[in-house]
């Protein structure tokens, strides 16, 4: 019985299948709303799912000059990393399936695994767009990672625990967005950087470097990377909204809060112009990190 419930929680709900489908739905929400804000019609609700199915059914072309094992393996590792991270996060308002003291750090590392895999996938290729894209992806990783981590450690400090589950329980009674507004802003924008949403889409700026690190990917590999991103979108939204927006104790609250957060992110996407990679680094290290440190400074005295 125990095994079955573990398997269900890992593969069907709240992990696995549910995560993937929810991620695709949230991707649709992102695309649709962005389209509406930009005066377009936007895709129908099943478009991301249809794209995924189509890509999965297609032949995967392995270009010359790449290491085929890495080429096939990297997307899988990326998706696995994102799915594993979800197990420690209260997805869908259900308490995390697993948890141990300090799992917040593990979750953040697992989330970075996707970006790292994309960077490696780009570097594995001989394609010049991929190489530039890979450099940019990894550069961006190094620029937002520290402030994002610091922003998420703020709630951990006040909760007195580095375990996602415990911080979430603490956050249910404390709307940390009110006490740590700067941290929230940095976490929100950090999440946009992590997901390579505009204006942080320099690593895949298609008017410059086509599709960045994933230029050579097609078919299954591309679909799996996309799924990884969809899952990461859910996990990232869950983390930030459960930490800062008064927790996600039930499914309705989960949906309401994560969508509200996504809504804000979509608004920012439609308003802002893409940053150059040097501007991205400048933004994070000159302002992002400093702002979080200011936040910590206030927390130390408050």
């Amino acid at each position: 019985m125990n095994t079955i419930s573990t398997l269900v929680s890992m593969l069907i709900f709240p992990g696995g299948l549910f995560l993937v489908l929810a991620g695709l739905f949230y991707q649709w929400f992102d695309r649709k709303l962005l389209a509406v804000l930009q005066n377009r019609i936007g895709p129908r609700w099943f478009q991301p799912l249809a794209d995924t199915i189509k890509l999965l059914a297609k032949e995967e072309v392995i270009p010359n000059g790449v290491n085929p094992y890495l080429f096939i393996g990297l997307p899988l590792v990326a998706l696995a990393g994102a799915l594993t991270a979800a197990l420690y996060v209260p997805v869908a308002g259900v308490a995390p399936s697993y948890g141990f003291s300090g799992d917040l750090v593990v979750v953040l590392y697992l989330l970075s695994l996707l970006t790292l895999c994309m960077g490696l996938a780009g570097a594995n290729s001989l394609d010049r767009f991929s190489l530039v894209g890979a450099t940019r992806t990894l550069t961006q990783l190094f620029s937002y990672e520290a402030p994002f981590l610091l922003a998420l450690l703020g709630p951990a400090l006040v909760a007195g625990s580095w375990q996602v589950g415990k911080i979430t329980t603490y956050a249910v009674n404390h709307w940390l967005i009110l006490t740590q507004p700067i941290g929230f802003i940095v976490a929100l924008i950090g999440l946009m950087g992590k997901l390579e949403m505009p204006p942080f889409d320099a690593p895949e700026a298609h008017t410059e470097i086509v599709a960045g690190a994933l230029t050579e990917y097609s078919g299954r590999g591309l679909a799996i990377f996309d799924l990884g991103r969809a899952v990461e979108l859910i996990v990232g939204l869950t983390l930030v909204s459960s930490f800062y927006l008064g927790g996600v104790a039930s499914l309705p609250w989960f949906i309401a809060k994560t969508l509200a957060l996504l809504f804000v992110m979509i608004g920012l996407q439609s308003l802002l112009t893409r940053l150059r990679i040097d501007q991205t680094i400048g933004l994070w290290w000159r302002y992002g990190t400093l702002l979080v440190l200011v936040q910590w400074f206030f927390m130390a005295f408050a």
Partner: protein
Amino acid sequence: METTVTSKSFTVPIGPQHPALKEPGHFQFTVDGEVVTQAYVRLGYAHRGIEKAAESRNWVQDLYLLERVCGICSHIHAFAYCLAVEQLAHVEAPPRAEAIRVLVAELERIHSHFLWMGVSAHEAGFDTLFMYSWRDREKVMDILEGLTGNRVNYSANLLGGVKFDIDATQAKAIREGLDFLEERAGHYLQVLSKDAMFLQRTRGIGVMTRTEAEVLGAVGPTARASFVPRDMRLTAPYSAYRQFPVQMVLDDRGDLEARFEVRVHELFESIRLIREILNNLPSGELSVRLPRRIPAGEAMVRLEAPRGEVFYYIKSNGTDKPERLKVRTPTICNLNSVIRLAVGHQLADVPMILAGIDPCFSCNDRMVTLTDAHNEGERLMTWPQLRQHGIDFYKQVGK
């Protein structure tokens, strides 16, 4: 596959097929990290042989052919051709026809500048502005459709005049449309000159000084953004611009921001001019008869297309076909500046610098005569030779 490093430099190819290019062209940017150290352009992927084709059609047929030189500024090419042919035939279009030609030319400028604004914003990753400006561009296309019946190749010109008149209902529709466009252009000017994130990508980027612009032979808004007073509507007034003068829009900053602002201010100027023409439309005929055979001679006209100076040369030998026809479009004049300005900039700025001149590749692709530097002579190839050359070339590349 075995990989060998053949050179230390890292070259990013843009084109012939690339998302930043809407038409085929080929650019190579050698980069050091993100900074461009060398730039190279190769054109000719969209050569259509229009000049040659024009020589085998009669004067009337050429009008329709040349209107298709460019998909955006179609009217200006027909306009230039008509002016040149009328010059050869020693006739002048009636004043009302001239006014209507200029009116359509200015509507076309509005259409082209709105389109350009969207494309450039898209290159910078600001898709919202792209979508909005293209939505608003529909308005001017509706006006043009109501006026001429076509959205793109308006076919407004006849040799010796225009095909249609403007009645009160149409004039009202144009005025209403212009009010809307003026309001929108005002809004975009606010966005382009105030939005801090967008200014990060335009202010101080791709700066071309006045001297550079003059040396590189830049034309049109690109030159005027570097304070080069070069606008054919004023420097060499033609057609109804003599009765309805425009004001030149100049900017001394020479960066991308200036190029954006010059074009938006030109929108206002075009709107003002169209209103003035509508208020003072000369009365009279719409066209005059032209002889079927155009007298022998040469004609040359220079017109201000939305992108800059367009040049037409026509040689007639007295038959019903032109003997030689030469078109030079503004893009070829401005491309030099892209190659020069890209060096030293970030790779991310290159698409914007390229879009900043409003390039149109298929308009500018012309036949070139190969001149061998060693043998000091022109090298002409017969068809089998050219074919063999192609086979050898690609074998070489494929190695």
